[in-house]
């Protein structure tokens, strides 16, 4: 079993954990963490799966680099919104959806 496959499987579990977290965790800060876990999981799968044969593959690596930057952008954005929300009404959770 190659490192690639091991980390791909780790990525799967991380992704599952993260997505469950995004659905279940109420506190928005930890929801942001969950999103990052999800992203990391996906990145691990991308590289790990591509390199399951053992040879490094620069293409998914470059993609992951791109992905990390996108993820940090999204994280910063989410944090900015969270802080704004907190400033406005002191909450760190989203109100319940009232319509369904």
């Amino acid at each position: 079993m190659s490192s690639g496959l091991i980390f791909a499987i780790t990525g799967v579990v991380l992704f599952a954990m993260g997505s469950a977290g995004m659905l279940l965790v109420a506190h928005l800060l930890r929801r942001i963490l969950a999103f990052n876990l999800m992203g990391s999981g996906a990145f691990l799968i991308l590289v790990g799966l591509a390199q399951r044969g053992g040879t490094p593959d620069p293409v998914p690596q470059a993609m992951v680099l791109t992905g990390i930057v996108v993820a940090v952008a999204a994280t910063a954005l989410a944090l900015a919104l969270l802080r704004k929300l907190h400033t406005l009404n002191g909450r760190t959770e989203l109100p319940r959806v009232e319509d369904d």
């Binding site: 499987i9 800060l29 930890r30 990390i68 940090v72």
Partner: protein, 84 residues
């Protein structure tokens, strides 16, 4: 079982453990610390995957910058938390 495989498995387990703890911990500060730990472990994982570029970026951006952002946010949220 080679050493590298054992290391990989150990690393995977550590990754999962830190992720899990970060997710379920009720104390947000600890969560963030655990998340930074996770980021550093992930850096190791990228290194194991022969992806030094990602490892560098992960260390600087994933663990470092994101961690700083999160910590700063916790400070902000704590500082004016109206509902402890």
């Amino acid at each position: 079982m080679t050493i590298s495989l054992a290391f990989d498995l150990l690393l995977a387990a550590a990754l999962l453990w830190s992720a899990w703890r970060a997710l379920v911990n009720q104390d947000t500060f600890r969560s963030v610390i655990l998340f930074i730990v996770f980021g550093l472990l992930l850096t190791l994982a990228w290194a194991r995957l022969a992806a030094p570029d990602i490892a560098l970026a992960e260390a600087a951006i994933g663990a470092g910058l994101t961690g700083a952002l999160l910590l700063d946010a916790i400070g902000a949220l704590r500082g004016k938390d109206r509902q402890p």
